[in-house]
Subunit: 369 residues, 2 copies
Amino acid sequence: MSRPLDDLPTPALLVDVPRLEANLARMAERCRTLGVSLRPHVKTHKCVEIAERQRALGPPAGTAGLTVSTLEEARAFADHGFHDLTWAFPVIPGRLPEAVAIAERATLRLVVDSPEAVAAVEATGHPFHVWLEVDPGYGRSGVDPEGEHAVELARALAGSERLVFDGLLSHSGQAYGARSPEEAARAAEEERSAMVGLARRLEAAGVPVPAVSVGSTPGMAAARSLAGATEARPGNYAYYDLTQVAIGSCAVRDCALTVLATVVSCQPGARHSVVDAGALALSKDPGPAWLEPPSFGALYADHEAGALRPDAHLVSLSQEHGVVGAPLPVGSKIRILPNHSCLAAACFDRVWAVSGDRVEGAWRVHRGR
Amino acid sequence: MSRPLDDLPTPALLVDVPRLEANLARMAERCRTLGVSLRPHVKTHKCVEIAERQRALGPPAGTAGLTVSTLEEARAFADHGFHDLTWAFPVIPGRLPEAVAIAERATLRLVVDSPEAVAAVEATGHPFHVWLEVDPGYGRSGVDPEGEHAVELARALAGSERLVFDGLLSHSGQAYGARSPEEAARAAEEERSAMVGLARRLEAAGVPVPAVSVGSTPGMAAARSLAGATEARPGNYAYYDLTQVAIGSCAVRDCALTVLATVVSCQPGARHSVVDAGALALSKDPGPAWLEPPSFGALYADHEAGALRPDAHLVSLSQEHGVVGAPLPVGSKIRILPNHSCLAAACFDRVWAVSGDRVEGAWRVHRGR
């Protein structure tokens, strides 16, 4: 059944299964050590076969359920036997009828950070589980953990006759600005202390907080303590990518996701070549602003991929063309470590499951929208 | 059958059909005026319903066939009755067996720019039509129009016993660096003169050049003459986008593609809000480096969308979150003009066909890969 890597049509999305499984086991172990359960974010891979491996590790090794970013993901995973899902995105009021339909066959936990959202969820009449999203210093969504608004919303949720208040939820996106594990650890501690501080304040105000859910891959890779948190929701750790290498969350040899591409053009005397992996294979994510050298993806030095080529990387992307800043032979193949594996994976309908230089199968990426 | 725009689940990809049809007619007319046939690039929309409208306009108004960027597009359009396709990408040697299978039911024209590619196409045994790709000053792929390599490859194609030499093909991607129609016109003229110069040199060397295919949307919008060219292959003009507005290829009121999004988070006192259109609805294309203000997408001032809001645009994107640099009411809807419509359209499986504030249908986006 297995076939050689070189037989695949390019561009092809590859997951190195031994690395994937090591990453999953390492994060499950890390959560056990830190004393939190693990609810992996499947937006990274959107892949049932990977979620099954994540589930097989826990609990108590960790997996309490899954985290999804869209209702399309929620439907796909509910269809495949995953019945405890947190939709970690501020609820979209117009899509609550779809959420109700999913919640009739799975526990779908919603996230809110506004009175408008609380009212819209109440109005469905469904006894949803609901998390209150807290901004742990990232500045995107979520209530201010030091404000009165947080207390009012938590009180409304905890006091609801219909809704089930799950607790406080945050995403330490600021950890993606870290340039070292030490900085990522500070971001994780900033998140933890903000969440625990709010939980204490709520409990002092008579609002019990059943759970505290935190997380980001850089934060989880670096956190020294999660005391007071009960659950973590990293996603990227399944694959990792060049951004995580730059932050120091992992080594190149941990990265499980690559794009296999073919060199399709290289002119005599040119200092660049063109490959068949462009913006629709890698995404245009530029990685961290301080990525050195700036690139849209790095090249593995060899198919075993323990190291990156120092002399060649993706210097620009158009829709289907990727430009590599070095001449390479037409017809040769390269493996590209993307800047952002979540976005690269969402460019494809399937990911090839690879072990060494053999392809063992193809897994569907549930990217429909 | 039609329903109100506000009923759509967000994020939603919308095409304004009257604008689309005006754009298609205008480009067909422009090609007639410039004396070239039109082979629209369908990588922009990947949509059979739009290609059918493009075909209905020509010939002689213009449409000789279609241009595709991938074999997946070639298969999808061949499945829907489009039997003259140029795969405008340097051939991927390992995928030639798939190209042969498509060529057995449609005319599939290939593009080469290297002796390796010529040999690989020859080796299939299929009597492919083949274009020689020329670099008209863009610096991506294609032979140097002033070099000897171009003559050698053209001679090899024209002299092939098996292959049919279609002529010279180029893409004036440098027109995307233009900051005005005048600069785009200069890029188009640079392309035209490079192509015509090479065609003359080849004919003087005894290599007949059957056709000269050029094009980019900014170049076609601005070109003053295409004398010597026979065909143009713009794609983006069907939709246009913020990049084309910035170049001056079109006005805001010509842009046919938008993303409808819902405001899902806005904290008291915050100067930003969060919408449900992130990198997987808009792509992370930053637009031109000189885009002012820098943004990942502009907001329409109203649903009729003749103007952009000066006070609010997309300032950052994560996977599913878009951050708008202004507070907006939770639950309200916005229409976003993306920086790059080709990449935004490829984020969705379907585009809603809209007329005014009514939704008339849903068209499939053949983005499979």
